[in-house]
């Protein structure tokens, strides 16, 4: 989102200034949940639910969000919600969709579109729930999957996942005297979903709330599978201060570490502009205890990788074509 410095000229031009007023005041993820102060995941869920609206069923994988929101006999959920286990949110959600579809077709429930939305952390999505997610997307269920990626298994104590960034210190990949933290690069989950031919894939973060909510709304409209990879700051696991939650999300974008884009029918588009001159990754890394041990050389290695990944993404943004465009080209 561009921050508008000039005096607003017209509503359309400065839509983002007015748009927050249009956001629903209704809360489906209510206060009183037990998330830590400054939890990016909890904020993202609140925004997601607003964008989804009432006709939604949530399937939640085990993880922080399930634990903080559903301590029996309380619940933070004002939407129908189910939790079964850690690896299977996608399969349970696909079953919800199959059940709803069958019951609607057979006239056993009202003929009204209710969206099945499955959510999980990076662990529940990229690691243990990977197979279930791949299956659900491949089977082309009318469902949305949102991964809340806080880059480690936070619920169980900050263990490394395949979403953990290179060299980050976690409880199972600690910054040791010999090995300085996590030794491999983060898995690119959004790309893997694009490779599934999922009609709508997007990256998002609650640091850009309107962008995120718009993407949720778009994903909801898709009649088929859609996937959103939501970057969610975890102050507790990242050893960052809670008031920097929003700022870190913005820095992730401005450094190019976590670009915000969407892939519609195979075509890439940046949804939030990144400054021409991207900020150095150092700006993002320095506020976080998990990167405290990094040497300038190591930061340079990360910088180079981010630059390369950025270029790779730009090539896709410039040259990718939607299936529809390809079809038209072929006809010519």
């Amino acid at each position: 989102m561009n921050t508008v410095k000039k005096y607003p000229k017209s509503i359309i031009e400065n839509f983002d200034l007015y748009a927050p007023k249009l956001v629903s005041k209704e809360e489906f993820f209510s206060p009183g949940h037990r998330a830590c102060q400054g939890c990016g995941e909890a904020l993202a869920i609140r925004l997601m639910c607003k964008a989804l609206g009432k006709d939604t069923i949530i399937t939640n994988a085990t993880g922080c969000m399930e634990v903080v929101s559903s301590v029996y006999p309380t619940t933070a959920w004002n939407l129908p919600w189910i939790h079964v286990a850690f690896p299977n949110a996608a399969s349970v959600g696909s079953g919800v969709e199959a059940g709803l579809t069958a019951l609607r077709r057979k006239g056993k429930i009202a003929d009204r579109r209710v969206k099945s939305v499955a959510i999980g952390g990076d662990g529940g999505t990229m690691d243990i729930g990977f197979q279930a997610l791949s299956g659900a997307m491949e089977r082309f269920h009318d469902m949305l999957y949102v991964c809340f990626d806080n880059e480690a298994y936070m619920n169980t104590g900050i263990q490394r996942s395949s979403g953990t960034p290179f060299l980050a210190s976690t409880s199972t990949a600690p910054a040791g005297k010999k090995i300085p933290g996590n030794q491999v690069w983060k898995k690119n989950m959004a790309e893997i979903m694009v490779a599934h031919n999922v009609p709508y894939v997007a990256t998002a973060t609650p640091s850009y709330p309107l962008d995120f909510m718009n993407k949720v709304k778009k994903a909801r409209r898709v009649k088929g599978p859609s996937y959103i990879h939501c970057f969610a700051v975890c102050p507790t696991g990242w050893r960052s201060t809670s008031e920097t939650c929003i700022k870190l999300g913005r820095l992730a974008l401005e450094t190019g570490i976590f670009p915000l884009y969407e892939v519609v029918d195979g075509k890439y588009r940046l949804t939030v502009e990144v400054p021409e001159k991207r900020r150095p990754v150092q700006d993002y890394l320095k506020g976080q205890g998990r990167f405290r041990h990094l040497t300038p050389d190591q930061i340079q290695v990360i910088q180079e990788r981010v630059d390369i990944e950025w270029e790779a993404l730009m090539i896709k943004v410039k040259h990718s074509k939607s299936r529809e465009e390809l079809r038209t080209l072929r006809g010519k």
Binding site: K54, D55, T56, I57, T59, E66, V67, S70, V71, Y72, P73, T74, T75, W77, N78, L79, P80, W81, I82, H83, V84, A85, P87, N88, A90, S91, V92, G93, S94, G95, V96, E97, A98, G99, L100, T101, A102, L103, R105, K106, K108, I109, A110, V114, S116, Q131, A132, S134, G135, A136, E138, R139
Partner: protein
């Protein structure tokens, strides 16, 4: 009107599920279950049944998806065996805890290793304590009947539990048998539409599967236990109703020639029919043999067992699964413990038989009875006819 049709039992089982008008099936292939999945998908794709058939990517997802669908109020069916059952084992106790009346056919098969596709009961025993009601079928007719009965029992408002029907792999699944099929109208009358207690729907949002802290976890376990213990009443009612409608009698423990029996075999599943022949042969030779067939494994029919063993001097309990380093097979230890407090009780011996598809013949059962007559074996449990 019922119709008699010659059919492979797996095919019959899929037909039975279709007669129950299931809304969703999610099944992952595994021998010897696969024919059920295949035939059911054929029924759906031919338009004979209005259901969503989910070709999931694993058994873990098969049961997970089944739960998701059940949570919306759908009538749901799944089936598996062996490694597949073990692969879904994480989800089994959650299905019962969340009280989803999913029905699952288990085409019983030995668990690896070594890998083996043939029949025994090690798969179901591995997942015994997960809170599912467990039926054991003797023959194809029982498989069809029990599949239909399973929905009626599980969906009963006082039960609300998942039910598995155990069908011996190959011995039963791949046998062609003449089977009496009730017609659709009869099944509809017996099995009305599923009325769920609570469903996932925006009109009445509920949270399912919340976190159980120590102050509530134990109560949740007790609630599940109370539900399954009490379900025996419903099982027996449903079986009575079935008998009235279709003339076929089902009992938790079925006794065969035990009135004056001296030694009685105990079996579960398809071997019961072979054992019956052995009992007849022994009787001809003047040996007072009998047989108890366990049809309801969970909830275990304690009272029925105590009644059934009255007057029997020796029980020869057969097990088709091992409890390594334990007291003997799972059926044996169950029965011995069930009878512990009886002032007059039979001697009990244990044979481990038919592991991984090992054939057990009439003569074997006769030999087991003869040996058991002494009231004691040389070992606490015997791997019958096994080398080494």
């Amino acid at each position: 009107m019922s119709k008699r049709v010659g059919m492979e039992v797996t095919t019959a089982c899929a037909e039975a599920a279709a007669l129950c008008r299931i809304d969703v099936a999610s099944v992952y292939p595994i021998t010897p279950q696969s024919h059920i999945a295949e035939h059911l998908s054929e029924i759906v794709n031919d338009g004979r049944l209005d259901a969503s058939f989910m070709t999931v990517e694993s058994e873990h997802s098969a049961l997970s998806a089944a739960m998701g669908a059940s949570a919306t109020g759908a009538r749901v069916f799944t089936a598996t065996a062996s490694q597949g059952l073990l692969f879904m084992s994480e989800i089994l106790p959650i299905t019962s805890a969340m009280r989803f009346p999913v029905v699952m056919i288990i085409a019983n098969r030995a668990i690896s290793g070594p890998i083996n596709i043939w029949n025994d009961h090690s798969d179901i025993m591995h997942t015994r304590d997960t809170g599912w009601i467990s039926f054991f079928a003797d023959n194809g007719q029982e498989v069809v009947d029990m599949t239909i009965q399973a929905f009626k029992v599980g969906e009963n408002r006082n039960v609300m539990l998942p039910v598995n029907v155990n069908v011996d792999g190959f011995q039963l699944t791949h046998t062609v048998e003449p089977i009496l099929f009730p017609d659709q109208e009869e099944v509809d009358r017996f099995l009305p539409e599923y009325v769920p207690y609570a469903t996932l729907h925006p009109d009445r949002p509920v949270s399912m599967g919340t976190l159980g802290v120590p102050e509530i976890y134990a109560e949740a376990q007790k609630a599940k236990d109370v539900a399954i213990v009490n379900s025996i009443k419903v099982v027996k009612e449903v079986w009575k109703e079935w008998e009235k409608l279709f003339g076929r009698k089902y009992e938790p423990i079925q006794s065969y020639r035990t009135k004056d029996a001296d030694v009685a075999l105990v079996t579960m599943g398809s071997m019961g029919e072979t054992a019956e022949i052995a009992v007849d042969a022994l009787r001809k030779q003047g040996v007072k043999a009998g047989l108890l067939k366990i049809k309801l494994w969970r909830p275990f029919p304690f009272a029925e067992l105590k009644k059934a063993v009255k007057g029997i001097r020796v029980l020869a309990v057969t097990d088709r699964a091992c409890s390594f380093g334990g007291p003997g097979g799972p059926v044996f230890s169950e029965i011995r413990s069930a009878l512990y407090e009886e002032s007059v009780r039979p001697a009990i011996v244990n044979y481990l038989i038919g592991l991984g598809g090992r054939d057990v013949q009439v003569e074997d059962f006769m030999e087991m009875v003869r040996k058991a007559a002494k009231g004691k074996l040389s070992e606490p449990y015997e791997f019958y006819g096994v080398r080494g």
